[in-house]
Amino acid sequence: MANKTKELFLKTADVIIENKNYLTELDAAIGDGDHGVNLARGFKKLKDKLENGSFESRSEVFKLTAMTLISNVGGASGPLYGTAFLNISKVIADSRLDLEDLVEISEEAIAGIQKRGRAEAGEKTMLDTLIPASESLKESRDNNLDLDTALKNCLQAAAAGMENTIEMQATKGRASYLGERSIGHQDPGATSSYLIIETFIKNSLK
């Protein structure tokens, strides 16, 4: 399981690095224009560490990811994603994950980000992708949907959540300094969260 998780994070790193300029452009519109650069720096470092390391458990890979992002990103997304992955590392098992496990993982990630960033839904942040994704997983669990359908629904909910940030006014983070002028732009944090979820889901559906 540790190797699969390692592969998953290597793919995630590639996706973030490929989207470096896109994320930075989104951030330049409403923030300080470094979201892509910062995340790419963190994920590049992560790639080095993953490629040169061997791991016993999923938890170990999540923990390494968390600490690497915390130490190398340089912007708020470092402590935010770092705390999310660290929280996940504390609960994730090495057995096959079912929908209930995924709900727990998503809730832990959100709890970590909320503790660190003190944000709620609707503030034009990464939470606006993550909370709808988590809610979708819960709904699928409650309706006893199969895992593949649940993951497809989750991805759709994450995409819709990301797109909904366009119309939101930022009230947290650097974009909040722009007030109403933050409306009309997709949030870079919500976008990077979507890219991470998309990579996770697409690679686990195979």
Binding site: D32, D34, V37, N38, I70, S71, V73, G74, G75, A76, G78, P79, L80, G82, T83, R116, G117, G173, R174
Partner: protein, 132 residues
């Protein structure tokens, strides 16, 4: 003596703020900085903040001045990694970084305790520019 840590996205802001605060010291106070990402970029370096907090004398407490989002977020995270005893003695000031650091340097060097330094620099009058 209460010591001071200045955390900024910009190394220049951190260093400049320290320089300004040093001028006002009435006695020896340790003023340390954690500015930028460590590789010349704008941002914060959680490892550097941790290193500074661990190396500074914390006996009478440390007042922390931080500028924007991730500086505050990184500090809060690093603080959680420290012992409970240290956590109680390290306080993030609800104050602007430059004015807060200058006033903290004065108050700390006059031998005020942690609560007194914080109370002084968290006064709203610190922001008053029109009726000096």
């Amino acid at each position: 003596m209460v010591n001071i840590l200045i955390i900024s996205h910009s190394e220049k802001i951190a260093e400049g703020t320290k320089e300004l605060a040093e001028e006002m010291k009435q006695a020896e106070v340790d003023i340390q900085v954690a500015g930028g990402t460590g590789d010349g970029q704008m941002g914060t370096d959680a490892d550097l903040i941790e290193k500074k907090l661990k190396s500074m004398d914390c006996q009478d407490g440390i007042v922390v001045l931080a500028d924007l989002g991730s500086a505050v977020m990184s500090f809060n995270m690093v603080k959680e990694w420290l012992s409970e005893d240290k956590q109680k003695k390290i306080k993030l000031a609800n104050a602007p970084i430059v004015e807060g650091a200058v006033l903290a340097a004065v108050e700390a060097s006059l031998g005020k305790n942690l609560e007194e330094v914080l109370a002084a620099i968290e006064k709203k009058s610190i922001l008053n520019k029109n009726n000096l």
